[in-house]
Amino acid sequence: MDVFLFHLMPYPETPENFDEYQTSWLTYPRKHFDPRKGQQLYKEYLDQLVYAEELGFDGVSVNEHHQTTYGMMPCPDVMAALIVRETKRMKIAIIGNALPLRDHPLRVAEEIAVLDCVSGGRIISGFVRGIGVEYFTFGSDPTRSRERFNEAHDLIIKAWTAEEPFEWISKNYRFRYVNVWPRCIQEPHPPIWVPGFGSPETFDWVAKHRYTFMSVYAPTALQKSWLDGVRAAANRYGYEADPSQLGALFPIHVADTDAEAHAAAEKHIHWLFNKGLKHKLEYLYPPGYMSMGGMKAAMLSGLKPFHEYSYKELVEQGFIIAGSPESVREQLLESQGTLGFGTLATLLQFGDMPNDRARASMELFAAEVMPALKAASPVAPVAA
């Protein structure tokens, strides 16, 4: 199993009247960001990510979110660049670049190519659509999100692999001279990861291209249905999905004892789910971002808005994993057996967790949990 340290880089300070805001995204005023505080947080977070190499993680992950206290990474390629030059071995997964939000997908092709070249081929290129609220941020048309994503992807892949300049004409993008410099070191191009939240179209698309699917924030049963969706789609394309194609992401907290771990995790998860993920549903699901089928599946999934989950529910349903090293190890191995993932993204700093606690949890995880995970050969889940 490959183990990655995932980060969101939250901006945890919120004003006393936070509850008066409908959401911590899009319209949550920027006056609540103190740049000096931000500078300190960026240093702590980037140091945590760089430390992951020393701790033996296979890689780190950065991501893209806009106009929110949830995360301070609107520009994931810049974040990756800050890590590339301070590390030598580990992979840097950018999950991802939100392709439909860019008017010029070739900028993504160029930025990733630069990063892959500079890093000596250590980049994993995530492609995402961006979450629904970000279609409000950029005024991008959510009803064209998927076709823009698909076209931008096809363009970028061709731009990375063509030997000669070419002209690109598709419904949403037209470029007369495509000839991306530099070239990626990885051949034919960096691996592609795609996070998903239950859209059947995503399962099919990921399977078709043999990319890696990552599940995010969901009960184990639902995550299983998503990974099963990818496996079934792979079967439709005539192959068995490799465990490395199936990724899972969990907030994880490790402390000396279960009691200590849960006490700390509860506090910081509360921030993540009640503040960081405080969404206004109309912003989160703009029309057309989800297909009718995807919307129906979401409504029937039984998922509540994140802030309505209690800590107990989050633990019991498998959203998050906390405990002593031994119990985290057991939970992750059990989860791996159920879900069959071969790539694990660990969110070890979350919410308003301070630097020292995050680093202590990372150290315990790396020393006492990760070796067992790496030793375990990924197994396909038992059919239900």
Binding site: S140, D141, K280, L281, E282, Y283, P287, G288, M292, L300
Partner: protein, 262 residues
């Protein structure tokens, strides 16, 4: 009020798009173009126009109400051609056109494109114009309570139009219409920046009607239509907001009948 004129639901094939058309009454044909909401029903307002002696045609736009999917229709331009095709299918050379909100934008575009096909034009709280200093408020970001507050002056009227406990099909139906609305109007939001400079082409006598309490689409939009369409005049209806034909169907119908019969 009792409706005394029968209506029928007619299914049309307009270049492969299935269209549901409500039709009632007889007399001069009046094409009613609905807004982002309000499709899929023969409304009391339609009945009042039919009773007054008009052949009322109230189609559901593709992607709305009981009509089929939008298919090749991706923007307002495409929808204009769809309605030119629909008039051809119905064999109508000229009609009175009444459009509300999104349908008002459509009506104005239709009259710009083919002025000879529009005998008289009524714009009810129409969007469509790109007025930087007074943009239309963002319906896409509103929750149901905010939407009701923006569209209706009297929330009780809204409550009577929606089920108290909407089921899955109802919610998915609303989502479908919101997706169709977004395809037409996401960005530029609810307008065609070119429309204002083309309004000079409209030759039909034009009445612009505005609910006085409309804070969703500021009345400067109505005033701009009146300013740019030759001979147009503005009539306002007190005590109603963005949907006067729902909130005060009698007053709205009376204004229209006077105008259309004159």
């Amino acid at each position: 009020m009792a409706q005394t004129v029968d209506h029928a639901s007619v299914q049309l094939d307009v270049r492969g798009v299935q269209v549901n058309l409500f039709r009632g009454g007889s007399g001069r044909p009046v094409l009613f173009l609905h807004g982002a909401g309000g499709a899929g029903a023969w409304l009391p307002f339609h009945g009042l126009l039919a009773e007054a002696g008009f052949d009322v045609l109230a189609p559901d736009h593709p992607g709305f109400g009981l009509s089929g999917e939008m298919q090749h229709i991706e923007c307002m331009d495409d929808l204009v051609y769809h309605y030119l095709d629909l008039l051809d299918v119905l064999g109508l050379d000229g009609v009175d056109v009444v459009g509300t909100s999104l349908g008002g934008w459509l009506a104005a575009e239709l009259a710009v494109h083919s002025p000879e096909k529009v005998r008289k034009l009524v714009l009810l709280n129409a969007v469509g114009l790109d007025i930087w200093e007074a943009p239309v408020k963002d319906l896409f970001g509103m929750n149901p309570e905010e939407t009701v507050a923006a569209v209706f002056h009297d929330p009780a009227i809204a409550a009577s139009l929606f089920p108290a406990e909407p089921d899955l099909d109802f919610i998915l139906g609303l989502y479908r219409e919101k997706v169709s609305f977004a395809r037409l109007a996401w960005n530029p939001y609810c307008c065609n920046p070119k429309l204002e400079s083309r309004l000079y082409r409209i030759t039909a006598p034009t009445l612009v009607v505005w609910g006085e309490e409309d804070h969703l689409v500021p009345i400067v939009h109505g005033e701009r239509y009146v300013e740019k369409i030759a001979g147009a005049r503005l009539a306002t209806i007190p005590g109603v907001a963005h949907a006067p034909f729902l909130e005060d169907a009698a007053a709205t119908a009376a204004l229209l009948v006077d105008f259309l019969e004159a």
